[in-house]
Amino acid sequence: MKFYVRRFAFYLATLWFAVTLNFVLPRLLPGDPATILLQKLARQGGEVTPAMLRSVELLLGTSDGASVWSQYWSYLGSILRGDLGVSISNYPEQVTTLIGQALPWTLALVGLATIISFVLGVLVGAYVGWKRGTWADHIIPATTFMQSVPYFWLALLLIYIFSVTLGWFPIIGGWDTWTFDNPEASFAFLKDVIWHGTLPALTIILSSVGGWLLGMRNMTVSTLSEDYITTAEAKGLRPSRIFMTYAVRNAALPSIAGFTISLGFVVAGSIVMEQVFTYPGLGRLMIQAVQGKDYALMQGVFLVITLTVLAANFIMDMFYGLIDPRARNNG
């Protein structure tokens, strides 16, 4: 019990620290939101009229003398109330609404892609490790090559081949805006969403599966040289049984730990993917917030990411404490 209390307190402290950092970091960034906003308006072709200037002043407020401390307290207070403020770069939308709209897309797409990539990587990795020294070893360089290809380039290449040239997949979006004005609960829409998610998911899988595969393969190879495997072979067990219950089970432990952490990062979305595919996820919001010095949005997005990563770590900690008594005693 003491273990769990200690972990819980630790996470509480980490949470406070993360939330505070979240407040401090955006304010250390150089640049002035008003200038950036005006330039954005000018670039979009709106003439910056005196009325616009006044509206920007009203929006961002001239320094009203609030001290950093009082800003910090009101920040903590509004987080507790669940009020993340209004986004300046997407004025006048609430940050919570923006995040609420983006989160499901990111969770579904990046989440699914991460799981597929993990399962694929671990299964194939285990198999390749089992068949070490045969033709199967050639899969490793192929997948690590895919991983080393710059991500955006891979995405652009896939778009060029499958969307522009062959026309099999759409070029942008989470759904077909030319057909559906708004998301709707219909089978046709679901099909459309899957169709739109295929290429983005494929880029994530292609560029991440190599890591899982390589890690799992190496763990399998080193597990196979363990004495208990030799014992099992000497006992005359079926190879499939040795593979599944002796080798894979032990070799997968580190991968599972890594997987839990990467699940935590799923909410951060995949910034490049969402940019290239104009996918309506959280990573997109993050870029926008940083570019536009949109403090409220930045804090909101970072908060969500921090919370999820912490939660994922917490769950993993608890999980490990459950399955591995050593962690419980030494933690």
Partner: protein, 561 residues
């Protein structure tokens, strides 16, 4: 052996590819949506005006989050002033206007028979309300009132000859909707069901796109003929270009270096209307605290002469930029504002000998390192541009190379946008490749006022406030007086006299060394729609983001069968 291994290695890839193909063919049957104009279906014009996702429904003309398509398609101005070509203002909600003798009072006759898209009739009272309305109130307005349903009279503190375009191009809002909104509310309101007089009204919005549908009661008989406008949010220029080539976008404006693949099949046409000058800002005024060789006019003149603008245009701007005039009159649009004897173009080829002569005449002598110097100070300067703005970065590198030919040392450096902004507003730079705003009417006045007058600058170290643009710290009492005098007259000849003074000063003094006019490239689907502005008939500013101009363009379009 190797060969069979290769085959086996390919197997998974083939399997993957074929399964992908299966999924795709299963889904792609209903994917042929897209362009309007196809017979039978209702016509939809797909527009990308540079917005990125997520789109937030905001059709409030006074908000900073305003969506493209609000000004023009939904809200209309009194008169449309064309920034693409010279010509008379186009009457929209206004029919005619006249000034009193000293230009401080304007009387506008408004159009009859116009209704707001909620059915309420439009009258001169709406115009008076708009002008008096706090968020939209023009500077120096004393009073604005509707004397009857079609006449509105506005009194100002100063002559309005040069500011009238801004006043008339502003969106007119309905009094019956906006009178209940306080100034603060007016700025934070999203106005999702915008009530305007324009040819389109809001139909639906999502985070990826919004759709405007035709206003059946529009005052221009029989127009518009395109049923719907769909404004898209796209995060990446590459995607936009792909969508353009695959027929998913009908109207957009963006920079594409190689337009050949886009326009090859004749469906998409490109119109280039260069508008905004790209210049070298120089911190030119030693009296206001600028330091460095560029504070000497001879150095600025030498740089101006040694530049090979043809090379800069072709290597840094893909030959898409326009030719700049050192008078900042946009040629040929502002032809009548070019004073006699003033150069129509900045030198397009380098003349190193002339540049060296300017320096020698000013008392500079070449040092052992091949760089000119005077009183121990070498002619060496730093030229900054925003990191990642590759056209500017490349131009800066070319300038540095070209200047070296005349014994001028320019070091091209880059900095983040925030740093460049800081340097620009505080004056802590020597040279900077940067943009200037073109004027929104066929008259260079706004550039002279905003970029060259003493009122619009601050000493080095003091931030130039938002809305002021004189970053070169240029200050010349003659120019200040001429700008004031030009604003006080409606007579073209008198104004041109004042412009002569201004142009004479800035062409010699070169506080901003002109480089090129930035391209504004518009891509139009000419196969499915006709009526676009073209090089021959620039009836409105063509880009899809053009405020108010986009309203004229969409009203003029007709789907082909």
């Amino acid at each position: 052996m190797i060969r069979t291994e290769g085959l086996r290695r390919l197997l998974p890839a083939v399997a993957l590819a074929s399964s992908v193909a299966l999924i795709a063919s299963g889904c792609s049957s209903d994917s042929d949506g897209g362009s309007g104009g196809s017979s039978g279906e209702e016509s939809v014009l797909n527009v990308w005006a540079g917005s990125q996702t997520p789109l937030v429904a905001n059709f409030n003309p006074y908000s900073t989050g305003i969506q493209n398509g609000t000004l023009g398609p939904i809200y209309e101005p009194l008169f449309y002033f064309n920034r693409a070509a010279a010509g008379d203002p186009v009457p929209m909600l206004g029919m005619s206007y006249e000034f009193n003798e000293d230009g401080t009072e304007i009387t506008v006759k408004t159009r009859e028979g116009v209704t707001w898209n909620d059915g309420t009739p439009f009258t001169a009272k709406d115009v008076a309300f708009t002008w008096n309305y706090e968020p939209a109130k023009p500077l120096g307005l004393i009073s604005a009132e509707a004397t009857d349903d079609t006449t509105v009279v506005a009194k100002f503190e100063t002559a309005q000859y040069t500011t009238v375009a801004g006043l008339f191009m502003a969106a007119v809002v309905p009094e019956h909707i906006w009178k209940d909104k306080s100034a603060d509310e007016a700025l934070s309101w999203a106005n999702e069901e915008a009530v305007g007089t324009g040819p389109y009204m809001v139909e639906s919005t999502s985070s990826q796109a919004f759709t405007l549908t035709k206003n059946p009661e529009y005052w221009q008989e029989g127009k518009p003929t395109v049923e719907k406008l769909r404004y898209l949010g796209i995060n990446d220029n590459n995607s936009a270009q792909s969508l353009l080539t695959t027929g998913k976008i009908d109207w957009t404006a963006m920079f594409i270096a190689d337009t050949e693949p886009v326009t090859a099949d004749g469906r998409i046409a490109m119109v280039n209307t260069p508008q905004d000058p790209t210049v070298i800002y120089t911190c030119s005024n030693a009296e206001l605290g600028c330091t460095g060789p560029q504070t000497d006019v001879a150095v600025r003149q030498a740089i101006n002469l040694v530049l090979d603008r043809t090379e800069i245009n072709s290597k840094a701007f893909s030959e898409k930029a326009g030719i700049i005039s050192p008078t900042f009159a946009l040629m040929p649009r502002d032809e009548k504002w070019l004073a006699e004897g003033m150069p129509e173009e900045s030198p397009q080829t380098a003349d190193a000998a002339a540049a060296e002569k300017v320096l020698t005449d000013a008392g500079y002598a070449k040092g052992g390192d091949g760089i000119y110097a005077k009183d121990g100070e070498r002619v060496a300067m730093t030229l900054v541009s925003i990191d990642g703005w590759t056209d500017y970065n490349n131009a800066a590198k070319l300038i540095a190379e070209q200047a070296a030919a005349a014994g001028i040392e320019i070091t091209a450096s880059t900095a983040s946008q925030a740093e460049v902004d800081e340097q620009k507003t505080s004056g802590s730079f020597q040279l900077m490749v940067h943009g200037m705003n073109g004027t929104n009417v066929a008259d260079p006045y706004q550039i002279y006022l905003d970029w060259f007058t003493t009122d619009k600058t601050q000493p080095v170290g003091t931030t130039v406030p938002q809305g002021d643009w004189n970053f070169s710290r240029f200050s010349n009492p003659d120019v200040d007086a001429a700008v004031v005098a030009a604003a006080a007259t409606d007579d073209d000849a008198t104004r041109l006299e004042q412009y002569t003074i201004i142009q004479d000063a800035i062409v010699t003094d070169l506080p901003y060394i002109p480089l090129v006019i930035n391209s504004t490239m518009t891509f139009q689907n000419v196969k499915d729609f006709t009526g676009w502005p073209t090089d021959e008939d620039l009836y409105a500013f063509p880009p899809s983001w053009g405020a108010m101009a986009s309203g004229l363009v969409v009203t003029n379009l007709t789907p082909t069968d």
